[in-house]
Assembly symmetry: C2
Homo-oligomer: 577 residues x 2
């Protein structure tokens, strides 16, 4: 087969070697993941502001398309918490929730996000995701978890409330607190407490009872399913829907419908930035899960092909009544732990979910929304982790500032502004740091050819020579800094006749820095001072030689700092501490 075909269609690689063992393992994993995904899909649709069936639809076609184009063996693609929140935030600025237009906007957002991911994959632009620093991601996920949990409290209490940042949500909750439906609140609170207990208390209990790890694992995973079943039965048996408990209600029994995203330029324009942010956040979440799981089996992940896989999945979601999807952490881990060997496990999961969509939806008619909210709250609170603040504070104040800014801005102004500002702050802090590089004035260590910082070592210097070592590549953000540093150093001391730049740590000189060096050379000439370079690296020298700079240079280029000082020094050497 043509290598390009294999690169762009990873299914051709594992599909050929597919055997009965793999089939058996994949089928078992698929059954477990399907059971887990049914309540999760419904819940994330609710979080995204969509009808529950959209969650099932968003898990079917995307999972199959990812199986064809993706490179991870265990990644499970579908709706995830943070992306669902971002979807809700993007759409409710534009269309009203519950309207026809809202669903179409969700499809369109998925389609646009798919096209962006696909484009980034084809043009190999995956590096864009690198601009999200770890502190920004950690801060963003934590703040998103809090916003999601807060946004679900309205379902727990059975009231109407809204908002896209913590402040709006809390104010809205307080305003509507009087409308609390007591029965709903009882279901919601009991569900939440039970699910927390399943996570934290069930495992130790089972172990004390002497149960095996396998049974315990299944019990823990079955927790959400149990709450769904019990609360549905309770609402049905006691007729609680008539008491004002909000239920999922009628869900169409259908395979995913064929849907068409909107091509309205106005809508596309409004959705472009959110789609971009969703793509990047989704990609980062997905790739880190995929790489963690691949490492356990020494498998390779191709980030650019992953973009193509996620792009195809989102385009699939757009045409089958879904909304933006990505590789989820919890579902992928369950899939991996359940023994999934190939992406085919995902395809079987899709079949399971399709069966659920066709036949099981009447069973969830009486499922209370409060139960879904409880599963969301318990899931997202595990994402909240303020320890990043402490850890980054101990390591670097700049990283701490980036985390704090991201958390506060996300909580205060919503997800889109939060993550954009986080990226901006990281980049600015990085540029700020590299815009003030460490510049050491160096002198010769007596009896050696070594030159060290005059502030830290006893070194020999010459009153007519200033030797400066710059510990950073020169580029636009620090070019002017160097200009000022040299200008001010020389203007201070009328004895100076030579400035030597020791270039041993300079890996690159960009065009701005080249022009700055020309300016420095010109200004030093005005002051009757020569500029010399020493220890210029090969590739840097190659570039400089192609320019006029070396012809204009008032001084010389020396192979070593030692040779430079030897050639330039005056007979009577000064000694400085």
């Amino acid at each position: 087969m043509h290598p390009y075909l294999i690169r762009y269609l990873p299914i051709l690689k594992w599909g050929g070697a597919y055997d009965r063992t793999a089939l058996g393992n994949d089928l078992i994993a698929a059954v477990i993941v399907t059971i887990m995904l049914i309540p999760q899909s419904l819940a994330y649709a609710l979080l995204a502001g969509l009808p529950p069936e959209a969650g099932l639809y968003a898990s079917i076609a995307p999972i199959i398309l990812y199986a064809i184009f993706g490179t991870s063996r265990a990644l499970a693609v579908g709706p995830v918490a943070v992306v669902s929140l971002m979807t809700a935030a993007a759409l409710s600025n534009i269309v009203e929730q519950g309207t026809m237009g809202y669903g179409i906007a969700a499809l369109t957002l998925a389609g646009l996000s798919g096209v962006i991911l696909l484009g980034m994959g084809l043009f190999r632009l995956g590096f864009v995701a690198n601009f999200l620093s770890h502190p920004v991601i950690a801060g963003f996920i934590t703040a998103s978890g809090i916003i999601i949990a807060a946004s679900q409290l309205k379902h727990i209490l059975g009231i109407n409330a809204q908002g896209h940042n913590l402040w709006e949500i809390v104010v809205s909750l307080i305003e509507h607190l009087g409308e609390t439906n007591v029965i709903t609140a009882v279901i919601g609170v009991l569900g939440t407490v039970f699910l927390f207990w399943v996570r934290k208390g069930l495992k130790p209990l089972m172990q004390r009872l002497g149960a095996g790890a396998g049974v315990t694992g299944i019990m823990v995973k079955a927790g959400p399913v149990a709450v769904v079943v019990l609360s549905t039965l309770a609402v049905w048996g006691f007729g609680l829907a008539d008491q004002g408990v909000k239920i999922v209600g009628e869900v169409p029994q259908s395979l995913p419908p064929l849907t068409l995203p909107s091509l309205s330029p106005g809508l596309l324009g409004q959705l472009l930035l959110p789609a971009f942010l969703i793509s990047i956040i989704g990609f980062v979440e997905s790739i880190s899960v995929a790489q963690t799981l691949a490492a356990k089996k020494r498998q390779r992940i191709d980030p650019d092909q992953e973009l193509i896989g996620l792009g195809a999945a989102n385009i699939g979601a757009a045409f089958t009544g879904g909304f933006p999807v990505t590789g989820g952490f919890s579902r992928s881990v369950v899939n991996f732990d359940a023994g999934a060997e190939t992406p085919a496990a995902g395809a079987y999961t899709a079949v399971g979910l399709a069966i659920a969509a066709l036949f099981l939806t009447p069973l969830i008619y009486f499922l209370p929304k409060a139960t879904l909210a409880a599963t969301i709250i318990v899931a997202v609170l595990s994402l909240v982790d303020f320890s990043i603040l402490k850890r980054s504070w101990g390591y670097s104040k700049a990283d701490f500032a980036a985390v704090l800014a991201t958390i506060l801005l996300t909580l205060g102004f919503g997800v889109e502004l939060g993550v954009s500002s986080g990226v901006g702050v990281s980049i600015l802090l990085h540029l700020y740091r590299s815009s003030r590089p460490h510049v050491a004035e160096v002198g010769q260590i007596p009896g050696t050819e070594h030159f060290r910082n005059i502030l830290r070592h006893k070194v020999l210097t010459d009153p007519h020579i200033v030797s400066l070592r710059v510990d950073e590549s020169l580029y636009f953000a620090n070019a002017r800094f160097l200009e000022e540093k040299i200008h001010n150093r020389v203007a201070r001391d009328p004895n100076i006749r030579h400035v030597i730049l020791q270039c041993s740590a300079i890996n690159e000189i960009d065009f701005s820095a080249l022009e700055s060096l020309e300016t420095i050379n010109d200004r030093l000439r005005e002051m009757n001072v020569q500029l010399h370079l020493s220890e210029v690296k090969g590739p840097v020298m190659d570039r400089l030689e192609a320019q006029h700079f070396l012809d204009e240079l008032t001084g010389r280029v020396f192979l070593s700092q030692y040779e430079a000082v030897k050639a330039l020094k005056t007979p009577a050497d000064g000694v400085r501490a």
Copy 2:
């Protein structure tokens, strides 16, 4: 005196030593600069879309305030071409030209820009200007020059036309071409041709006639004044205003009025981004002129104090009927060449312009606008310099891309989008380059303790050891790249038991990179491979030691790469080309 007082009020430093010689030199320079500034100020007011007297007002208070707070001895502050264009672009999106609101918006823009500059100076944020790379500035100035020249063609032809990018202006000019006023066009074209000839042809002619350099210099500088006088006399003498030649008309005889900028939050919000861009561009232009002139006399410029000086100047403009100002190139050079010794020369120039505003304005009643347009066109076309394209192409394709993007976006979409995109492109290209650092797999040069790239040298390697040298500090933009690089290298080769990272070129590891190293360590552990570090720099080691990373590290930290390989290598060494 308190040192803070001297730092924030540089006038105290030179004011004390002011003597008769300095006074004489400053007065002579002031007379020359005043004569040059009268037509220039009127012209730039026209360019900014304001009545001509605003140009005079904008040159009076700002020049005095800069003299008090600024650190350059020769800088002349006032309206300049690019900032006037940016003012026009910012304001005409918001208010209609010629209305009362337009003038107030101009004051407000100056005030806001002044506050931004002052704030940046007090908080020592001058480094923000470093984000404008040289290629971006060069491209922006060239494109602005073209837009300014094109925008003045309407005055040369006596027609109405408008637009904020080259395309709009050209289309509008063509649409209105039929309305050309022939007499205006004759004045405009003659004026332009004459001024070009003064710049290019007068000097050689004078030299051939045997005139001295001094006389020649004065003649060249007097060119614009001559055109102003001659065209005014022509319009007056032949009654050309009745033939449709547009003239400056009545200009109030007054000192600068006391004006109040608007405090409307809506207007301030709309002007914030333009004010920020104007501040940055103005600062960059001003500081480079100031430093060039200071270098000629070994004087120092304090960039943060310069921000305060320019901030005060702009706030002054806001309260005296002006518009945004900065240190101009041509006027500062004239001031310097004319022998100005201290900022007092600027104050005397202000007095000269105040006298002009009080007594001379009736004389310019008949001055045709076409003449002012001609002086603008000739001045700005000297800014247009496409050689930057060729020079940057020869040096680096990334820098070339930044120039080209800035020129095309400025011409195509106007100054604000042009310069913002230029900055964005520069930063992205820089991050892109440093996000894919050079990572060399190294081996030992036989018989030495040196390790070199296995692709370039004949070196010894061990089948169980991979040694990688990263030639860049590790930070968020390249952290994931390293994760992938190591993961893929190890996943490819099941023999590997040890990965050694040679850290000799790593000046910094930020928090993201630390977490990536933890991830790399965890994933290698899953693959049963140990991670080791060698040649970690002191400050980097200090930070790592404060964290848990070194406790978690599966391998060890070695002082040198040689020691690492010696400790880890298996008895039977392999040799690789």
